[in-house]
Symmetry: C2
Subunit: 220 residues, 2 copies
């Protein structure tokens, strides 16, 4: 007789366990390696088993994204709302960059999850307290959120390309500049030869947005 409660019993599958396994696969194999089969293997289970807990891969990805936001806690000064918003953007950026390929999990726009909601609530509180109308606060948040996500995808891509050596895109750009048909572009490229300041560029865009947000506060 086989024991009904085997000692090596791997715990029964649950959505949380699946998400945790997916997180490990993502960190180890990257976004391209995040397949249903790989997640199943991580759990020592067959791929179709996952479909009992998630309707499809998209749903798993969304849950995974939310899961990876669980340990993001904004640390704010609470003196100037502009600084607070900026700090949140910066901390979100760092958080996303520190975990492999997280930003790629969200092909489509904003969505809802328990952890995400907590962050959104905090951001909206600050914006509304700063004087923005609720509707404007909503616009501002989603705009800022999109900015950070898009930025992180670009930045991760950049460091990946630098790691693998030459760009391929850079060469093409050089070639086109050499034609002399793009004087302004050439000028801009030239100003980047020092290497470009990633932190500075991120701050630039974010501060642009914040400056725009500030204009929405009605005069009192």
């Amino acid at each position: 007789m086989v024991s009904r409660v085997p000692s090596k019993a791997r715990p029964q599958l649950s959505p949380d366990l699946v998400v945790a396994a997916a997180a490990q696969v993502l960190e180890r194999e990257g976004f391209e390696g995040l397949t249903m089969r790989a997640v199943a293997a991580q759990l020592q289970v067959q791929a179709p088993a996952l479909y009992w807990h998630f309707p499809n891969k998209d749903a798993l990805q969304v849950a995974l994204y939310d899961h990876l936001m669980a340990d993001l806690v904004f640390e704010l000064q609470g003196r100037d709302w502009r600084k607070d918003i900026f700090d949140m953007a910066q901390q979100l950026r760092r958080h996303l960059l520190a975990r492999r390929d997280v930003a790629l999990l969200l092909p489509h726009g904003f969505f809802v999850g328990p952890n995400i909601m907590g962050h959104a609530e905090k951001i909206l509180a600050i914006l509304i307290r700063a004087g923005l109308a609720p509707k404007d606060a909503g616009y501002a948040m989603s705009t800022g959120f999109s900015y950070v996500i898009t930025w992180v995808i670009g930045e991760a891509d950049l460091v990946a390309r630098r790691a693998t050596g030459h760009d391929g895109n850079d060469e093409l750009a050089q070639a086109m500049v050499a034609t002399g048909a793009y004087p302004h572009f050439a000028q801009v490229i030239g100003s980047f030869e020092a290497g470009g300041d990633v932190d500075g560029q991120f701050a630039f865009g974010m501060n642009c947005l914040i400056a725009g947000f500030a204009q929405l506060i009605p005069e009192r």
Copy 2:
């Protein structure tokens, strides 16, 4: 003997022909249907034939994106740089929305192609003429570009979801609001019940950016 120049001769394959076929497939089947096999079928050719003209699917996608930008011509007033930048963003948005799934072609950041370069040159000219330093102009352009792309992906997704009926995300949002744990979020959702103004929201974000750009112009 078979004639050496068959009358029904489909012209020999070329990168341009492949890209044109890919454009048709994208418009007809959408991004998900854009497979090497489908493009090949459009050309009445076997899939591996494409690999003679493009090293891989990514390269084809990039070429396709650039191709789809060929018939975008910015129409500008040339009086106020802010208005011109805004108009370009608006026209780019409309252009992207009018062609199915174009914005999805660019998973990674900016890249280079002949048509793209022409547009970049025009944008940079305006920004530099407005008084931005070349480096700032470069930052501004890529920030604005990312904004529009991300926006369009979100907007296309939105109309797609509306077309298919209920959201699934909306329901979840409602449920979370009902918990009462997210008062600000609830407030924001409430202010959108009128339906939300897509054009207005796009303009909002873009104007935020432009306001930020303006702050970079040194005082004279």
